[in-house]
Symmetry: none
Subunit: 402 residues, 2 copies
């Protein structure tokens, strides 16, 4: 159980908490002495919150460790990623509402283009459109493998999720994606004796799938990776005693929220203002709100410093909408850094802002940025402490010991 | 295994890392509001690195715990000293290339001067010269004890190392050094039943030694301490995937480096410039370089504030030599604090400087000193995180999780 010392302290009620996560928020200067993306962005509202509240920086996993999106969010949610592991397959399936039962094995699939020799020509089938890919995924649903049932659902572009259901299944199977073109997809291989049956079943399904896809122009092959089971994470309600809602546009983040028992809210649009409006809609029904902004990370990975900065500014511009709801606690942070300079996730600490007008202790920092956060009143701390800090400031934790 | 979560992340290649350790670097002001040794030292190069890079401070073991040299270096190397224990005997033997096999027991020896009643008159035999002590150590090599072989080698002045080799040896034996004059050396005493045979064998060896030394003027007695076996530490190559070299003038530090599988480089001289020149010689052959400066600690223990400051300045003056090699990562820190004010090791956090021109996140600090480091961008963190930070900044770690 994550943070089991908190459980006996939980109060039956308390203030509302908003955890606003700008994915990959942390950045780096593009030149010596230059600003980071966040420091460069026009953020009068965030600066005002930093001025009134307190800031700091989090270490997502451990110093020097660059997190993937799954582990980074688990940490923010208070589950130490070195203790709780989630496979990509399960994340993908949960994200699109494809059920993964306790005995099921899920995998993430990619359509790919095979040449006449069965070698991979394009690992992403030319990133085919949703319109083209969805019916291909449906074709796969008709494949029968004796002894198990297999469900398939399209995710986005070349990506799909597959879940195998049956008895005695094991997820210790290596990826079939060779991570390179010019070679055929790998066979599903058991990493343990217990997984041999499951690997064999997946190979039978893959062989049948390749027959069915043979006449497709681009999506005539597939690879699978991230074979995994539901990790059975303890739920937010259990661990923190809060009714939790997730406002996220992207499937993967909806998936990880669902894994910890959050209700995932449906809404239209994917701009910050759309997400905040969706949050306002359900304000009365929940105690905790996880709001996820994806595009800071996407532009970071594209190496687009200006565009990442602009997303941050757009979040700032929409912020009054959120502040107007008067949350008891508003945390603004990222799950990890994605510096445009690196075009990738990184290990650098993540800016963290805590605005708790009633119970927060202000520091002497007046702006929200990496350099300011490195010297903020909250110090440098593990991301996994985020939830207990938020709960405390919302009056949701009683005293430990007499 | 230290930091086992890093192992799956290791990249086959990456940039070169230099870990420059000024022993006992951390200090204290001699009077209220005064500077520390480091703050007092003339360090234009270190200040420039601090300006371009990021600083912070490490906690060597745990807050409030004063480390010995062995544990402090283990921590810097990424091995939690509360988990991995190295005896002084093994350190001493490794430092002078005296082999300690898996079944052997090593001890550190001191020559002492005994009076006519066999009581210790001088615990260090008047710190006799190497020239006088080395032949005495050779005399001890001729002693035979039935069932085992015993090897002895002179270390420096009154110090020597002894290794007993045989079957069923156990190192749970208490020191024979009473840590006081006016009393005879203690007997080697087993702390467990399993060590009784070994203690007995050492006592027989000690008795024979005292007979052989009886006509020596000053070194007519000896004490043993730090009975210990090779702790079998996992090697740097295994844990971090780097070819590691040690540039250190003092045996003990060469010993601890060897224990984690570093190659120990031989060179002449012991000035910082000599060490940096030795490093340059082998620059192409290694990925990681541990450079050890001893005299900051020695002068700290002497209570000589000015001399300690001057050693720091001499390191600074030689630094361009090191920077000219263009390491991807240069860490400058200490293993612990040795404030001249205290004339001893202390528990105070240790200044830490990370210069990684490509991937480092700069902070707003512009000088290298204790007060600046306490508010640096890297925060306050366990020394045991040093290696993962260095590896990350050298591009040697991939992403954790999807």
């Amino acid at each position: 159980m994550p943070y089991s010392h908190l459980k006996p302290l939980l109060q039956p009620s308390g203030g509302k908490i908003v955890l606003l996560v700008m994915d990959g928020l942390g950045g780096l200067p593009m030149e010596p002495n230059g600003p980071t993306e966040l420091e460069h962005a026009h953020t009068p509202n965030l600066d005002r919150l930093a001025d009134m509240g307190a800031i700091g920086q989090t270490v997502p996993i451990r110093n020097g460790v660059t997190p993937g999106s799954g582990p980074a969010h688990l940490a923010l949610f208070g589950y130490d990623p070195l203790e709780y592991e989630i496979g990509r397959g399960v994340l993908e399936a949960f994200g699109i509402n494809l059920p993964v039962g306790a005995n099921d094995v899920a995998a993430r699939g990619n359509f790919c283009t095979l040449d006449a020799d069965g070698k991979i020509q394009d690992r992403r089938a030319g990133r085919i459109s949703n319109k083209e890919a969805a019916p291909v995924a449906d074709i796969l649903r008709s494949i029968a493998v004796a002894g198990v049932s297999v469900d398939v659902r399209h995710v986005k572009e070349h990506r799909f999720a597959v879940v195998m259901r049956g008895d005695g299944l094991c997820d210790e199977i290596s990826d079939t994606d060779p991570q390179a073109a010019g070679v055929p997809p790998l066979r599903a291989q058991a990493r343990t004796a217990a997984a041999e049956l499951t690997a064999d079943l997946f190979n039978r399904w893959i062989d049948a799938a390749h027959l069915k896809l043979a006449d497709q122009k681009r999506a005539n092959g597939l690879t699978l990776r991230g074979f995994s089971k539901d990790p059975g994470l303890p739920s937010y309600k259990d661990v923190y005693g809060v009714r939790a809602a997730c406002i996220a546009a992207y499937p993967m983040y909806r998936g990880v929220a669902k894994l910890v028992g959050m209700d995932v809210i449906d809404f239209d649009g994917d701009a910050p203002a759309d997400e905040f409006a969706a949050l306002a809609e359900v304000w009365d029904d929940y105690d905790f709100f996880f709001v996820h902004i994806k595009k800071t990370d996407s532009y970071g990975e594209d190496g687009d410093f200006e565009a990442k900065s602009k997303v941050i500014a757009s979040v700032d511009a929409a912020l009054p909408q959120l502040i107007g709801l008067n949350p008891e606690v508003l945390v603004v942070t990222g799950d990890h850094s994605t510096p445009a300079l690196m075009r990738a996730h990184s290990w650098h600490p993540v800016p963290f802002l805590l605005w708790a007008p009633k119970l927060g202790r202000p520091d002497d920092r007046t702006t929200f940025g990496e350099r300011a956060c490195a010297r903020g009143g909250l110090g440098t701390f593990p991301a996994v402490d985020t939830m207990s800090l938020a709960l405390a400031h919302a009056g949701r934790l009683s005293k430990f010991g007499a």
